[in-house]
């Protein structure tokens, strides 16, 4: 990793479902499993609450990466929410990739309330990926008037 990337502090928005991933993040906290402060968590009732508008908005306002965490498929508190999330995000991410935006900037991970370790590891890895990618330029530049 270059020195420039070391000093680069990315802005990362993490949407976490209240029942699994937010609790997983709490567990990571109570287990003192650290991950970079660059990650800021927004609590949502379910991963299916996350509108693609929120993700694009984050990028528009300067986020360098957006990660969405929900219950493992099959374990959704609302039974089916994350199944819709899975389809929506697969399509959205595929579209962003199609437009030439680095596909590492978006991610969905399933993290249960018991997976504090996974939560922290995922965030560490995601921050690492974003640092390696550097500041998000492309999405910001993808406007109608260049």
């Amino acid at each position: 990793m270059s020195i420039a990337n070391e000093s680069f502090r990315p802005k990362i928005v993490a949407f976490c479902c209240n029942w699994c991933s937010y609790a997983g993040a709490d567990l990571a906290g109570s287990s003192r499993l650290s991950y970079p402060a660059d990650v800021k968590i927004i609590r949502v009732p379910c991963s299916c609450r996350v509108n693609p508008m929120f993700i694009l908005r984050a990028f528009e306002r300067g986020a360098d990466g957006v990660i969405l965490c929900g219950c493992h498929p099959g374990d959704c508190h609302y039974t089916t929410g994350n199944y819709y999330t899975r389809r929506r995000m697969t399509l959205l991410f595929s579209m962003l990739d199609f437009l030439g935006v680095e596909n590492g900037r978006t991610r969905v991970e399933w993290v249960s309330a018991a997976e504090g370790v996974k939560f922290s590891a995922t965030m560490n890895e995601f921050v690492e990926t974003i640092r390696a990618l550097g500041p998000n330029v492309r999405l910001g530049d993808l406007r109608c008037r260049s």
Binding site: R87, S94, M95, L96, F98, L99, R107, L142, R143, C144
Partner: protein
């Protein structure tokens, strides 16, 4: 065209329908426009030829609210949009009398112009039963152009000559497919990411936010578009360049994903010539790949891909993994 006028006249006369939704000549020889006709007399202005690309199904949303039935002329590909609107409870099937009009591919005046033909005064041979070659009269004399070479992009990937819904059929249709539907999308997918980005940046930079695509799209039929409402906005709106400008096309494509019938109106009406259908078609391709073949508007009561799921669906990481 005569037959269509005659049949429409009959149906108006016997009270089957209260009005006719079709096309009438525009100010130029190649830009007929959608129009309602309420009397037999008005029908003499009705036209139907190769330039009648406009998909009339969206206009049935408003027509459904009117008294009596509306006769609507739909080409085979328009019927998909019509069915989709019925499925979404936007159009009342009972309020429509559909004449499935024949189609041998619709024309794109830009394609004629791109062949160096300028100063167009009239185009002959555009009618349904016309010859395989168009004769174009211009300031500088008569030019020829094969009908096929002047067709809209969407007609080269024609979904077929069958009407998915109709009350009666009028005129022959032809399947004009001679290209792979996803070839363009695949070509872009093969480009390196940076090239893809540059390509779309160039294309989207042309957008003037005229909303022509939104207005023409039969799936984009919200009463109030989110980009015109405050539903997703925050208090700081004035401080930054607006959200809509950047993300409008992605969100628009996402909102119609699984509902878009690939009618191609967005690209046809774009005054800047942005290939907007690529967004929709990319979604269609992904949907077909990930969740199985799906065509919106066939009239089946299958669940739309984005309001459906299976336990074994692909994970979003598939996007990263395929590289």
């Amino acid at each position: 065209m005569q037959e269509l006028r005659k049949r429409a006249g009959e149906l108006l006369a016997d009270g089957t329908v209260a009005r006719v939704l079709a096309w009438r000549a525009g100010d130029l020889p190649y830009n007929p426009e959608p129009a309602f006709f309420e009397t037999e007399a008005e029908l003499e202005h009705l036209v139907y030829d190769g330039f009648c690309g406009a998909n009339l199904s969206k206009l049935m949303i408003e027509a459904s609210k009117l008294e009596g039935k509306t006769l609507v002329c739909l080409k085979p590909c328009d019927t998909y949009s019509f069915n989709q609107l019925v499925k979404e409870h936007r159009v009342d099937r009972e309020k429509a009398y559909i004449i499935g009009v024949g189609c041998r591919g619709k024309l794109d005046i830009e394609k004629i112009r791109r062949q160096g033909i300028r100063g167009i005064e009239a185009v002959e041979g555009a009618e349904l039963d016309g010859p395989e070659e168009l004769t174009i009269r211009t300031f500088s004399g008569e030019k020829k152009c094969a009908y096929r070479d002047a067709m809209l992009e969407r007609c080269h990937v024609c979904k077929g000559k069958e009407h998915m819904a109709y009350d009666e059929l009028l005129g022959e249709s032809r399947d004009t497919k001679d290209a792979e539907r996803f070839a363009e999308v695949e070509a872009i997918e093969r480009m390196p990411a940076k090239e893809r980005f540059a390509y779309f940046q160039k294309e989207l930079s042309k957008c003037i936010r005229c909303n022509a695509c939104r207005n023409a799209c039969p799936a984009c039929s919200c009463r109030k578009c989110v980009f015109d409402s405050t539903k997703f906005d925050s208090e700081q709106k004035a401080n930054v360049d607006s959200f809509e400008e950047k993300m409008f096309h992605i969100i628009r494509a996402f909102h119609v994903a699984g509902r878009c019938t690939d009618c191609g109106e967005c690209s046809r009406v774009c005054p800047q010539g942005i290939p907007l259908h690529l967004f929709n078609r990319k979604f269609i391709k992904d949907i077909n790949t990930f969740y199985g073949e799906y065509q919106a508007g066939t009239g089946s009561d299958e669940k739309a891909p984005l309001t459906n799921y299976t336990l074994e669906d692909a994970e979003p990481s598939v996007v990263r993994e395929r590289g």
